[in-house]
């Protein structure tokens, strides 16, 4: 018996209480997901791919998330990311590891790479939320975490609040690789907190593939709703 990691109520088993677990899983009945980018499509949509993926396929193999970026999950991510409640990295990492383990399409990635923060932003925030998540997922799944390999070379305007096009422009030539040999010929699992339009993970994927990664799949805590 312990306390629920999200709401703090006493729970008999697991890291989340039954109420938070059911609140987290409610979306699965509501929304179909795009089989490529993992984003949620409107109710009643029967197609497999979202309009964006139909128009142009993303460079990553697939992306999956714990749930939509709203409600309780959004509150918890905000607490984790902006209020700095680092202890949430454990339950959130656990949920993320569950997503990776439960999806057979992820295959067997050999290395986990967290989406990096720019140096200045890291100084301000004092931690990289994607890095904490990646460490937890790596620990639980027994995978190697390559920190400091993918770098964000310049600081950009925060993506939150920008449109799709502006996000692309904002991220142009931002990411670079150090010690590329680590990912050469490897299946990479890219970890981030939120996937909204997919601009950040796409930019990272392009850099990783150019450096010789065999494939890149993406796991995020939350994803956008189309």
């Amino acid at each position: 018996m312990g306390r629920c990691s999200f709401c703090g109520r006493w729970s008999y088993r697991g890291i989340l209480c039954p109420r938070c677990t059911s609140a987290l899983e409610a979306w699965k009945r509501e929304f179909p997901i795009c089989s490529l980018c993992g984003r949620l499509m409107g109710r009643g949509v029967s197609q497999q791919l979202c309009p964006q993926c139909q128009e142009e396929k993303p460079p990553f193999r697939l992306a999956r998330a714990v749930g939509p970026y709203r409600g309780m999950l959004k509150d918890v991510i905000l607490d984790f990311k902006y209020k700095g409640r680092r202890s949430l990295s454990q339950p959130l990492g656990y949920l993320l590891a569950q997503v990776v383990a439960a999806e057979p399409l992820f295959g067997k990635p050999q290395v986990i790479i967290p989406v990096p923060l720019a140096r200045q932003r890291l100084k301000e925030r004092a931690f990289n939320q994607a890095e904490l998540l990646a460490r937890e997922v790596g620990r639980l799944l027994g995978l190697k975490v390559a920190e400091g390999v993918l770098l964000k070379e310049r600081d950009t305007v925060p993506q939150a609040g920008l449109g799709r096009k502006e996000r692309w422009i904002n991220l142009k030539d931002t990411f670079a690789l150090k010690r590329a040999s680590i990912i050469e010929g490897q299946d990479v699992l890219l970890v981030d907190d939120v996937l909204t339009t997919g601009a950040t993970v796409t930019a990272c994927t392009i850099v990783l593939l150019q450096a010789g990664a065999r494939s890149v799949s993406v796991a995020t805590l939350a994803t956008g709703i189309l």
Partner: protein, 585 residues
């Protein structure tokens, strides 16, 4: 800009050493040149640095170790070896580094500005900056340099927000917490040994690499004789308590005193006596409560009672956090930012959430008063610790056993009903039917029905609606219900007669004609003695209807129910013996 993201100063720097008076001394600075200038002006020689940079938390631990062993006899090489021995745990290996040239001291005027805003405070660098801006002050030198210089002069304390104790265990210097500390790699100081306190995150991140600056409050001589302006004459019971509270402050012999008043007795007015006595002696006063509503309500009342006295209000919603004041009204959380400032702390509703069971808030209250400062607790339901103090005779107590209108407290009637049948929607038992009929028809009063859990609120609402056969007569609300404010406002207006709620409404509700019904009163985790006294205390507060009905319904009479009844009776007896009560008309 995303919420909560703010730029913070990272306390990282070098350990340094020098020789003064033939003895080796050590220090830590983010700008060693500044320290070099300071110490060389006092005759120091052989100033040297030790590389690499370490964060403030680790530096403080190493400096404490060094000072406990006495560094004076060591040579610089011996010091380096010792530091390496103690720093091995942190993966540190030191080497000598050429010292930076000496820097001049900051301007005296700027030191004075910072000294003033930091007086009686415990702040992060960013908060000092904000305090300067709020008070219209500007400094040209770097603020960290100014604060470091004040520290060197012994005019302020400098601590890592999360430091280490003598055993090397981390603890939060701001809230005193030891449990909610998280160690992760820090992106600001690049250390693996940077702890973050998650217990006081709402006031800004306390980390090992963030510096906390503290300065004891300077005494101000603004003695003034103030007579509080009261909107009504004091009842004899209040008058007696008022004078005794004033005497407690005027004599200043005892550090603590409890004002134990019955619910609705007007204990705030009693505190006015203590506040006036403190102002007459030129003391600084803090009026604090765990509840924001109390702070918001008390502030205009204090302004009205003490015109001409500078009063500041601080809670989560106030924009100004550093206003100058003789009397500060604040929530207990805001008190975490004060350091040895107040001579008198008036703590209202000492037993209310979140103060109960939160040791960090007691830690803050102890720290915000001067070493010889006094605390006046105001409550109707003291915590077991305070009661024990009263029993042992270590805590002086001022009783206020009668309400301002002079009528006795309504004594609860205890009724045993084995199976209430709320969940199954059974028939309403006869005693409850009688209670509701008498309340609504004979007394023309509203009824508050208290239940122990949120789940029971809706069940009870449905059950009572079944009895009335009318949906509009009964409504329910609890802490997280979306319509809580609307339902409460509607009940206050008298739009419907019966409100079903949880203990969230145990305080701060005053209605003219109100009866109280507590269901499942033997629920031991929720309805303890203090809660039951508070619930009963909602009834009979107004002069218009002092003889209210209170009914506790339970499967059995719990010890808590019996004790609550006994305490209420004891106060009525005490008030009667002292001649404070009058008979019902």
């Amino acid at each position: 800009m995303p919420p909560f993201l703010n730029k913070v100063f990272c306390g990282q720097g070098y350990l340094y050493f020098f020789i003064l008076g033939g003895r080796l001394r050590v220090g830590f600075s983010h700008r060693p040149g500044l320290d070099r200038g300071f110490w060389e002006a006092r005759g120091a020689i052989s100033f040297g640095l030790l590389s690499p940079q370490v964060n403030l938390g680790v530096a403080q631990f190493l400096l404490d170790k060094v000072s406990s062993r006495g560094p004076g006899q060591l040579s610089p090489y011996g010091l380096k070896c010792k530091l390496e021995e103690w720093g091995r745990h942190f993966g540190l290996s030191f080497s000598f580094k050429p010292a930076a040239p000496a820097l001049p001291s900051p301007l005296e005027e700027e030191l004075k500005f910072v000294r003033n805003v930091l007086s009686g405070r415990l702040l992060f660098l960013e908060e000092v900056d904000r305090a300067l801006r709020e008070n219209g002050l500007r400094v040209k030198s770097g603020l960290p340099d100014i604060l470091q210089y004040l520290y060197l002069q012994g005019e302020c304390e400098l601590w890592p927000a999360v430091g280490f104790d003598r055993q090397g265990l981390p603890f939060c210097r701001r809230c005193g917490g030891r449990e909610k500390l998280v160690r992760t790699g820090c992106g600001a100081c690049n250390s693996r040994f940077c702890y973050v306190c998650e217990g006081c995150l709402e006031l800004g991140e306390a980390r090992s690499c963030r510096a906390l600056y503290a300065r004891a409050g300077a005494r101000k001589n603004f003695r003034r004789n103030v007579t509080p302006r009261l909107s009504f004459p004091l009842h004899p019971a209040q008058r007696e308590a008022y004078e005794r509270a004033a005497e407690f402050v005027a004599k200043g012999q005892k550090p603590r005193c409890l004002v134990w008043a019955v619910c609705g007795a007007g204990k705030t007015e009693v505190a006015y006596g203590a506040i006036a006595a403190a102002l007459a002696q030129g003391r600084e006063i803090l009026y604090t409560s765990p509840r924001r509503e109390v702070v918001k309500e008390i502030y205009p009342r204090l302004k009205e009672a003490f015109p001409g006295v500078e009063i500041a209000v601080l809670h989560g919603e106030t924009s100004l956090k550093f206003p100058p004041a003789e009397l500060t009204v604040a929530t207990v959380h805001q008190v975490l930012r004060f350091y040895q400032r107040f001579d008198l702390v008036v703590l209202d509703e000492v037993d209310a959430f979140p103060l109960t069971g939160d040791p960090r808030l007691y830690f803050a209250l102890e720290r915000c008063r001067r070493p010889c400062g006094q605390v006046l607790y105001l409550t109707a339901t003291p915590t077991p610790e305070l009661r024990a103090g009263v029993r042992r005779g270590t805590l002086p107590v001022i009783y206020l056993p009668a309400r301002y209108h002079g009528y006795p407290l309504p004594e609860p009637e205890l009724i045993v009903i084995r199976n209430l049948g709320v969940k199954v929607g059974g028939r309403l038992p006869l005693p409850l039917q009688r209670f509701l009929e008498l309340s609504l028809v004979a007394d023309r009063a509203q009824v508050m029905v208290f239940v122990p859990t949120v789940e029971l609120v809706q069940d009870t609402v449905d059950w009572l609606r079944g009895f009335f056969g009318d949906e509009d007569r009964v409504r329910g609300c609890y802490a997280a219900s979306a319509q809580r404010e609307e339902v409460l406002a509607s009940f206050r207006r008298g739009d419907f007669p019966v409100l079903v709620t949880t203990t969230v409404m145990e305080r701060g509700v005053t209605l003219r004609r109100l009866n109280v019904l507590v269901l499942f009163a033997d629920h031991r985790y929720v309805f303890d003695e203090n809660t039951l006294i508070q619930l009963a205390g909602r009834a009979g507060r107004a002069l218009e209807y002092p003889r209210a009905r209170v009914l506790f319904v339970a499967g059995k009479i719990s010890p808590e129910m019996a004790e609550a009844l006994e305490t209420i009776r004891r106060f009525n007896r005490m008030a009667w013996e002292k001649g404070f009560l009058k008979a019902y008309k």
